[in-house]
Amino acid sequence: MPKIDEYAAAAGVNAIEELKAIASRLKNKTILNVNSTAVGGGVAEILSRMLPMMTELGIKPRWELIKGGEDFYAVTKKFHNALHGTPQKLTPSDFQLYRDTIKTNMESINLDADIALIHDPQPAGLIDKKPAGAKWVWRCHIDLSNRQQDVWDFLHGYVSRYDAAVISAPSFSQELPIKQFQVPPSIDPLADKNRELTHTEISEIMQRLEIPLDKPLITQVSRFDRLKDPMGVIEAFKKIQPYVTARLLLVGGSADDDPEGAQVLAEVRAAAEGNPDIIVLCLPPTSNVEINAIQRASAVILQKSLKEGFGLTVSEALWKGKPVIAGAAGGIPLQITHKYSGILTRTIEGTAYWMKRLLHEPDYARKLGENGREHVRENFLLIRHLRDYLLLALYLESGRKDFIHL
């Protein structure tokens, strides 16, 4: 695991010094994180890298997992989908199963800590056993703007008893009697997905993947999902083909375990059929360094989402200094200021127009990429993410004042 000082090149020396100064005020404080999984998923990925940093800073982090049977996870999966806006049928016994599982966990999990970050709905009910004097934060990673009412009403009873809630974007906020803070997610600049690669590494990977580099690449990396609009991407590319020399690369997972994904992939392949300048590539989920190389070898990156959570793939592309054209959905407008740090579009025609324009104006495209990288450096790196959590801990510990002198 990288040491904090190794992040100085990416985040800046000042950001590292600030982080150390803040952390010195929280020395020996215990910060507990509770979520539902130790591996897989964005939360586990962030925690596995953030907690060693806390230890290095003199804080005592702890990480506990909520445990439950398959039936519990089936219920919380329904919660998750319902909160995301996909209608779900929840029965009284589903809610009871949740309560019972939480009760069992209360007896086995050590909840002793100065500050606790309780992630997402699965462990939210643990608030019933909050120790006196501790400060508890509900960290919601889900876009709640289209949440299903009955599930939210149920969770509201728990969430409203926390000391604060943390959401990723202002549009995800809900009416709550507690304070809500915005802490966007982050990317790790030293992870395989984002670390610097040499030209040789990039060339070798592109050769291995048999991706020709004789024409500029326009790339979208995302799973084959209708909400990522891969068919719209192909349509936009076909519109500009008479005017540009370029290749379109659509990269996603194999979609073996996702029937809808397999169908979308089949449609994408059919739409690309016979067009030598459209490449559809399926990679295994562990292909982090390959995705990194593909992004770095591309001239333009697309993320033409119709609906999006936070859309952190945009920051991953911007971090590589690439001009990004992305759908103005979910958290994407927080990452891109239109025409300054990338391009926001809402239509296939708009996407086509900007693809053509960025290919024809490489200086402007380069400037967008540079601005985008600086925006990510300032706002979406792991160091800032940790800093925000520590500032929140200080705010809660120091009497919730608007002005805090450290």
Partner: protein, 219 residues
């Protein structure tokens, strides 16, 4: 002599849950806003975009111009020069006055944005943090200026004007008190945050101080 101790400003963003879909709701939201809200929407913008050529001067103007697409009002709100005011209440009143005038002059149907494009009122929880840098003379000051973060620069040059002695930045105040140097203050007070990025401002202030250092040394 008291050395100049450089501090830095960090903020935590609180989401108030209050939203505006049109100019009337924006006006009501600003009227109800406390200092922490006004600070967030007027002071965050320059710092956030310090690597870009500044466009809008504040979040209100940016939303009105780019989302509500009320070009004229957006331009007027952009023109509110936040650094000329000595309190956040004065800044707030300037926005209220301009929005009230606009609404009074435009009594027709009001443009309302679609859900998802609304303005979100936020608050800034402010933290002051001392840095390792401190200076006792011109040379040391210049050296610190090269090292400190843009947040520190922003805190001492612009935000300082909102606290006593009102309207004066920390750098000018220190050079005036300790070296009886009025020229540094005069030059820094002329700097316009809308015409430079913060990195550009850093270089400009360093040049001012290098020039003064040479003049003072010669004298």
């Amino acid at each position: 002599m008291e050395p100049f101790k450089f501090c830095t400003r960090l903020t935590l963003t609180e989401v108030t849950g209050r939203k505006a879909y049109n100019t009337a709701e924006l006006l009501e939201g600003i009227k109800a806003a406390d200092d922490a809200v006004i600070y967030h929407h007027t002071h965050r913008f320059i710092k956030q975009s310090h690597h870009l050529v500044p466009e809008g001067a504040n979040d209100f103007a940016y939303w009105v111009a780019n989302t509500l697409q009320a070009d004229r009002l957006g331009e007027e709100l952009t023109s509110i020069d936040i650094v000329q005011y000595h309190s956040l209440t004065d800044i707030k009143n300037a926005f209220v006055k301009m929005l009230e005038r606009h609404i009074a002059e435009n009594l027709g149907p009001m443009r309302t944005v679609a859900p998802g494009r609304e303005f979100h009122f936020m608050r800034a929880i402010r933290f002051s943090l001392p840095t390792e840098c401190s200076a006792s003379d011109y040379a040391g000051f210049i050296e610190c200026l090269r090292k400190v973060s843009v947040s520190s620069l922003y805190l001492h040059v612009f935000e300082a004007r909102l606290r006593p002695p009102y309207g004066v930045d920390d750098f000018s105040h220190w050079f005036r008190i300790n070296f009886n140097d009025e020229i540094v203050g005069r030059e820094i007070s002329r700097l316009d945050p809308y015409s430079y990025t913060l990195e550009g401002l850093r270089q400009r202030i360093i040049r001012i101080l290098e020039k003064r250092h040479a003049e003072v040394s010669r004298a």
